[in-house]
Amino acid sequence: MATLSLKDVRKTYGKTDVIHGVSIDIADGEFVVIVGPSGCGKSTLLRMVAGLEEITSGTIEIGGRVVNTLEPRARDIAMVFQNYALYPHMSVFDNMAYGLRIAGVRGDDLKARVAKAAEMLDLSTLLDRKPRQLSGGQRQRVAMGRALVRDPAAFLFDEPLSNLDAKLRVSMRLQIKDLQRRVATTSLYVTHDQVEAMTLADRLIVMNKGVAEQIATPMEIYDAPANMFVAGFIGSPAMNFLPATVTGSDLLISDGSRMPRPAGLQDGGVILGVRPEHLTRSRSAGPGTLTVRVLAVETLGADAFVHARLGESGSEDIVFRVPGHDRPAEGTVVSLAVDQDKVHIFDAATQRRISGM
């Protein structure tokens, strides 16, 4: 168990910057998730912590010890790979015992530690099997077990659930969270799935193009995204963005509808951000509401997501959420009340958050 700290960590391939200075202090036992679209550098960052990629500049500390130039094996970490990376010629037991044997653990001690980890992951009956005789979920658990059994200073997860089917992913997600709580080992977890990120993380690092756009708790990120990228990436369906102008006492939307002017804004162009769950159907049109024409309805059961177009002849697409049993028909025109307490205002030029909530 240990703290993990990154200080202005950078990575450059030739002249291309892939990681632009990431800094974070991770407390002992904390679960931090790095989330971002593919190619954002999240896996590279994790591999730099693991020692599988070199660090161009900056410092990485594990348990207060600078590990920049240390070999992976000297860093006291364990990693779960996306494809599990189980040794195909070894049994489940040997896979889990591999690291311990190298560390010099022998005999009954070895057996006891593997047995304990196997029990935690419900693998006790599978110890004699080879990886190819296991299902995807079982392989994933063996990969977890191999990390767990060594009791390292930190766990690194590289998209460990992305090869599983949706149902298994949900149950494994809970299992990982539960396991991490029980062993209380500092964890760094990479995923492109924002649901996984939100549910697992104590804190999130939202990355885009090698930049850590925001580092905060899941709810802080949901409530106050630092910029339009974070706002659009976290939350499903994504936040609606509407170009607007601050003028007089109004916030004028592109289709001509008016909202009350939020406090503390100068006149000029901004982007109004509204999440689909903060738009509700209203009986009357007027200030503070949007008029949209329904294009399509996606029914999920409890909820439905309605895809609509703003205004009579507008070009802005908008998504809002309605209860599953109260869906508007396609082609109808409806009015939507905007929850004024929950809107986000972004600078049109810098895309940074200006105000809201």
Binding site: A78, F81, P88, H89, Y98, G99, A103
Partner: protein
């Protein structure tokens, strides 16, 4: 059962006829001929022959020179297969580490395979000729009395070196392909698990290369038994004093030089049986230990 039907009953036979013809003419016919000849006694001019049953076999197996040849073959084959595979593996592992110019190195490594066996043999013979060989100076400088033309052990060393050298390229190619098929993440996982480079090699890389190694073991055994005739012929002609006379070389020597056709045929039949038995053994016992991904 769903049978595909041909409009003509003859057509399927016509279609496989070329392959059948080649197999029959070049494999089965000579094999049957050898079997038949091994039971005949023939005068050197081929004017008359007499059926003698298994007499040729009895004679061959009672001959001390034949027993010597079996021993020579065993030593030669094991050394050649071992060195050609071990060195090829070492080179393949090293070539994997090269970042720049990897393709260039690999291409260079393949060239020796294109050298004809007889020429390879001549090259080694010249390089290590005790009187004018360039490389013969090295053992001499080390105080070794170097003369493969008289010393049987040194002659064996020379043919093993030449035969291995020629086969390294082939083995190298397969090992490179085998190494590339090992997922990088396995090595990374093992590195994180605490294994150093040497341990990573023996616990992960080497076991996962087993299918490749097994295939090469079979191929190299057959190579050492049969395809090294040219090298031995060029370098030592089986000498000095039959110290490098392998089974295949003795077949040639007895049949085409000494014109003992019957004995030579019996020897080739025995050789055939040995190779079949050896290959069967390898598949039966060695392959069990091989893990196919």
């Amino acid at each position: 059962m769903n049978r595909s039907t041909f409009p003509h009953r003859l057509l399927p036979w016509l279609l496989i006829a070329p392959q059948l013809a080649i197999s029959l003419v070049f494999f089965y016919w000579p094999a049957v001929q050898a079997l038949w000849q091994s039971m005949l006694r023939e005068d050197p001019f081929g004017l008359k022959s007499r059926f003698v049953g298994l007499q040729n076999f009895q004679k061959v197996l009672a001959e001390p020179a034949y027993i010597n040849s079996i021993q020579v073959t065993a030593v030669f084959s094991i050394l050649t297969a071992f060195f050609s595979m071990a060195i090829a593996l070492l080179l393949a592992v090293q070539a994997e580490k090269i970042v720049r110019g990897r393709g260039f190195y690999r291409t260079l490594m393949i060239w020796p395979y294109a050298v004809a066996p007889a020429i390879a043999g001549m090259l080694w013979l010249f390089m290590f000729n005790p009187s004018f060989g360039t490389l013969a100076a090295i053992p001499r400088a080390l105080g070794i009395h170097w003369d493969p033309l008289l010393n049987g052990t040194q002659a064996m060393g020379l043919v093993v070196a030449a035969a291995s050298w020629k086969q390294i390229s082939y083995n190298f190619l397969f090992f490179v392909a085998g190494l590339q098929a090992i997922p990088k993440s396995l090595l990374e996982a093992s590195a994180i698990d605490g294994a150093g480079p040497v341990r990573r090699f023996w616990t992960i890389v080497f076991p996962l290369l087993a299918p490749t190694s097994f295939f090469l073991l079979v191929v190299n055994t057959v190579y050492a038994l049969f395809d090294t005739f040219g090298i031995i012929h060029a370098v030592t002609s089986g000498g000095p004093g039959k110290s490098t006379e392998t089974l295949v070389y003795k077949v040639y020597n007895d049949g085409f030089v000494n014109l003992l056709i019957g004995s030579s045929a019996a020897q080739s039949v025995i050789l055939m049986v040995i190779v079949i038995a050896l290959t069967a053994f390898q598949f039966r016992y060695v392959e069990r230990k091989v893990h196919y991904g």
